[in-house]
Amino acid sequence: MSDATLTLTPPESVITPRAEVNGHDPKMLISMRNIWKTYQMGTEAVHALHGVSFDIPRGEYIAIIGPSGSGKSTLMNLIGCLDTATQGEYWLNGKNVSDMDDDELARIRNQEVGFVFQTFNLLARATALHNVELPLIYGGVGASQRHEMAKQALHSVDLAERMTHKPNELSGGQRQRVAIARALVNHPSILLADEPTGALDSHTSMEIMDLFERLHSEGNTIIVVTHEHDIAERAHRVISIRDGQIEKDERIR
């Protein structure tokens, strides 16, 4: 990774990591406090993350960037509540999720997190509409309201005409937009995208990034995890991860 390709504003004091502060800032949507993630590889303990702390306010568009093996995937899994930290505290939308069990985490993922994956991760046998309805089904939304919300979400990503299509009848960009609609349908606190353009050509990638920009302007909090600098550049703040630690945390816009 070369800093020369990035035009970053100097790390100002606007948002500074507050690693030593205990407790969380109730104004922040996300508060991570001294997060450690340790994997036991045989007899050896491997630290994927050591002592990561940061805050994300509501409505921010943020990129987490880092080379493979940097720990950014681990961080993404923690932010997305797919996993829990070995040590440290994680507050999401006022809830301490650090010690939650599997089912509580599932509930948080359903209510607070909208995932967008590199390979879309749509259900192949289900229509676009049904894919988008899925989080609402697990969220307990009644059928008629569910249809309405799913249609609206598909409409907001300009896919209203493709509702009855199955993923294999859609282009890559369309599939990713279905996935974004699915992520947004439950009005989550954060939209968490993992290499969202990794499987798309550059033109489609730009379309998806434009969509993210629009969603951000509509008030959504967006976190994009990527190793591509031009994708990271679209965000307003970039956290660089290296060797399991925050290397840089900069506001670029």
Binding site: L82, D83, R109, N121, P135, G140, N186
Partner: protein, 422 residues
């Protein structure tokens, strides 16, 4: 915005059902193989149970044709269960005509009292021959009613004829077949047949009773007891038949008969434990049937049940494959908020759906098979709604049990690992 918990469960269960049926449709061959596993099991169970029920009914009807209002007094029990019993009963005094008269005289609860003795002989008519025919000497003629047989053509002998010792008889319908080349019954009336070389005049032909377990109950010739005594000697022990008006009186009649018989046997029995006679209702046959067949029934049902277990193992196998194949899907579902019980429900419903479907088909084929078999053997088919419901419930149960482990494996998958799989 969020609806109640029960509605949530309903939506999740409906989703699980949709997913299950879609998955079953998508893998038609696999579904068919799984179905066959369950169908074979349920078919076997339903067919076996249905056939056993039909058999039970046939036996019950056959033995109760004489009616539950009849009991017998005899020297030897009708069914001897052990060597000891045989020796014991052989030491008893014969039951005689006098015993029957004493019962008839003193038993106020008794309605009809009759005596009967049996022999097995070869019966001839011209050059026709019937072997192993039951010759039944009876007195008085109400024994026909007690036996539950009725005259079809011709007549029964009169009381005076019965007392005369004349060679007269009433024949069972099998005699028509075996001696008279299936001629109409009225052709046999007035003919002379030979039993053990003695000529007998045929007075009438009985209504058919049918057969049980391949033994015809129509292969019989009734003769008056006086004639029987003349031909076979008076020294043989006979059986006293007692009939009451209705079953309420059965107990008091039995008590009275017991008292009479005990008085008549008195101290003549060396063995003090032994009453000196056997008093039995028709239940003895049913009891014997039940005790003789209960083990066989359980073994048969058990063997059929094993095939259902095999069906369950097939379901489990297929479900494990299904879970492995759909690891990615499970990961996606978990990522967007499916909890363990949602995933568990999904796979359980899939297992139960296929098992219940197989069960329903199996109930159909089971009854079909039972129908074929009962038509071949010739007893009634008892299509029981209860066993149909039970068949489906049982296979659903098998589905749940065999789906539990695969579903649990799916439910506890780590979402990150599951998402990573292809």
């Amino acid at each position: 915005m969020r609806k109640s918990l029960s509605l949530f469960r309903l939506a999740a269960i409906w989703e699980a059902f949709r997913v299950a049926t879609a998955s079953l449709r998508a893998n038609k061959l696999r579904t068919a193989l799984t179905l066959i596993g369950i169908i074979v099991g349920v078919t076997a169970v339903i067919a076996v149970v249905t056939i056993i029920k039909g058999l039970d009914q046939t036996v019950a009807q056959t033995f109760s044709s004489q009616g539950s209002t009849v009991f017998t007094v005899s020297k030897n029990p009708q069914i001897i269960k052990s060597r000891e019993e045989f020796i014991k009963s052989n030491r008893r005094k014969d039951v005689t005509h006098e015993d029957a008269e004493a019962i008839s005289r003193t038993c106020t609860a008794c309605w009809r009292v009759g005596i009967a003795a049996n022999a097995v002989e070869t019966v001839k008519y011209n050059d026709q021959k019937a072997e192993n025919v039951r010759i039944r000497g009876v007195d008085p003629i109400t024994m026909f009613d007690i036996d539950g047989v009725s005259i079809n053509v011709g007549r029964i002998w009169t009381d005076s004829e019965g007392a005369s010792g004349r060679e007269i008889c009433v024949i069972g319908p099998d005699m028509l077949k075996n001696l008279f080349n299936d001629a109409p019954a009225d052709r046999a009336v007035g003919q002379e047949i030979r039993i053990d070389g003695r000529p007998y005049l045929v007075l009438g032909v009985l209504e058919p009773l049918g057969s049980i377990f391949g033994f015809s109950r129509d292969n019989v010739v009734y003769i008056p007891y006086s004639t029987y005594q003349k031909a076979y000697g008076g020294r043989r022990s006979l059986v006293v038949f007692v009939q009451v008006h209705n079953t309420d009186q059965l107990e008091s009649a039995e008590d009275q008969v017991r008292t009479v018989m005990r008085n008549r046997r008195g101290h003549l029995t060396e063995d003090t434990d032994d009453e000196g006679f056997a008093l039995e209702t028709q239940d003895v046959f049913l009891n014997l049937y039940s005790s003789a067949t209960s083990n066989i029934k359980w073994v048969t049902v058990g063997v059929a049940g094993i095939s259902l277990i095999v069906g369950g193992i097939v379901v489990m196998n297929i479900m494990l494959v299904s879970v492995t194949e759909r690891t990615k899907e499970i990961g996606i579902r978990k990522a967007i908020g499916a909890r363990r019980k949602d995933i568990m429900t999904q796979f359980l419903i899939e297992a139960v759906t296929v098992a219940a479907l197989g069960g329903a088909i199996g109930v159909g084929t089971g009854f079909g098979l039972a129908y074929l078999i009962s038509a071949l053997i010739g007893f009634p088919l008892l299509v029981n709604v209860m066993s149909a419901v039970l068949g489906v419930a049982m296979s659903s149960g098998v589905g749940i049990i065999s789906g539990l482990w695969p579903a649990w494996r799916a439910a506890k998958l780590d979402p990150i690992e599951a998402l990573r799989s292809e």
